[in-house]
């Protein structure tokens, strides 16, 4: 058993499951969005605004927002723990990894808050 406090769920199965579930949400969103764009013909601002402002789309966008954030964190956490290790950075590895992970976490937090503001701000 390897202890890890910076992984999303601090548990391999949880992270693995979230990674798969979020991938399905992202795939369904992209398919739905492409379907809408293909079927909507000449798109004007009014149609787009009404579509994105509807409650189902706001919920879908929120799900997409959290899915992208979780998926990104789990994926990049794996990348940082693979490549930013003692093999590449020696004794400085823990510091380097922590700084990079915190920077990614902060960016994702900003992304979530900004996204929520865009989606629900006008509600």
């Amino acid at each position: 058993m390897v202890t890890s406090v910076t992984s999303l769920g601090r548990n391999g199965l949880y992270d693995w499951l979230i990674q798969r579930v979020s991938a399905v949400v992202i795939a369904l969103y992209v398919i739905g969005m492409v379907g809408f764009l293909v079927c909507s013909g000449d798109l004007d601002y009014g149609t787009w605004s009404a579509f994105m402002g509807s409650t189902p789309m706001r919920i879908a966008n929120t799900l997409m927002l959290f899915s992208v954030a979780a998926h990104t964190w789990i994926g990049l956490w794996s990348v940082t723990t693979d490549y930013l290790t003692g093999m590449t950075f020696g004794k400085a590895a823990t510091g380097v990894r922590l700084v990079v992970q915190m920077a990614i976490a902060l960016l994702l937090l900003v992304y979530i808050l900004w996204g929520l503001l865009m989606i629900w701000g006008g509600a």
Partner: protein
């Protein structure tokens, strides 16, 4: 034919280098180990491990023209097109990702430590029967494709996840053995075994790229075994 061999003696060399040799094979489809034996006659300082010379002991795992395999059961004709004919050189390197002791000999310590972590022995708390613990033919069949592993380390040392985190990710060989005991109807330590695999590294660092399957000299499938363990964890955790 030309043979290029990784040479490194930590007592005399500042860094490893590739040394070129010329070996006469008379066009025969020799095993790579036979070529190494011919090289050893030329240059007795060359170090490599070998024992059974028939793919049972797992001693002579090495990187042959970029792919891990057992030298004793890899014929030149299977290494790469043109190698047997002498059109391309035979390139021999130690197993990747493990510290080199000398030339083609690697320190397998971390590999065995990971093997030890999965407690590769039968655990059963119930009183021992008079003769032996019986198993149905169906239950016994579940161990096929698992018990044949010879611990040559070809799979684990071809796995990038093992290269980057050899102390945290158990690697395909140890995980195959872990499932060998999880699948055994006579073992009752399933819960304890699974609870040790639940972290983000030990098992879940496997991304399913299947290098292990492609190099296993015994034709085993560690990726499938890892998938079975993941399913068991999922059933237990959901």
């Amino acid at each position: 034919m030309k043979v290029s061999v990784y040479r490194y003696n930590p007592e005399t060399d500042r860094e490893p280098s590739m040394k070129e040799y010329e070996v006469e094979t008379n066009g025969k489809d020799l095993m790579v180990l036979e070529v190494l034996n011919l090289l050893k006659e030329q240059d007795p300082s060359l170090a490599f491990r070998r024992s059974c010379r028939e793919g049972v002991c797992g001693s002579d795992g090495m990187n042959i023209n970029g792919k891990n395999g057992l030298a004793c059961i890899t014929p030149l004709s299977e290494v790469a097109p043109g190698v047997k004919e002498g059109k391309k050189p035979l390139v021999l390197r130690p197993l990747p990702g493990l510290p080199v002791v000398r030339d083609l000999v690697v320190d397998m310590g971390v590999f065995y430590q990971q093997y030890e972590k999965v407690q590769p022995y039968l655990q059963n708390e119930s009183p021992a029967p008079a003769i032996e613990r019986l198993q149905t033919p169906e239950d016994r069949a579940k161990l096929d494709g698992l018990y044949e592993c010879i611990l040559c380390a070809c799979c684990s040392t071809s796995c990038p996840s093992f290269w980057w985190n050899p102390d945290k990710f158990l690697g395909p060989a140890a995980l195959l053995q872990s499932y060998r005991f999880l699948a055994d109807s006579r073992d009752d330590a399933t819960e304890q075994r699974l609870s040790r695999l639940d972290d983000p590294f030990s098992l879940f660092r496997c991304h399913g790229i299947m290098n292990c399957v492609s190099v296993c000299p015994k034709g085993l499938n560690p990726t499938r075994a890892i998938g079975h363990i993941r399913s068991m964890l999922l059933e237990r955790g959901v």
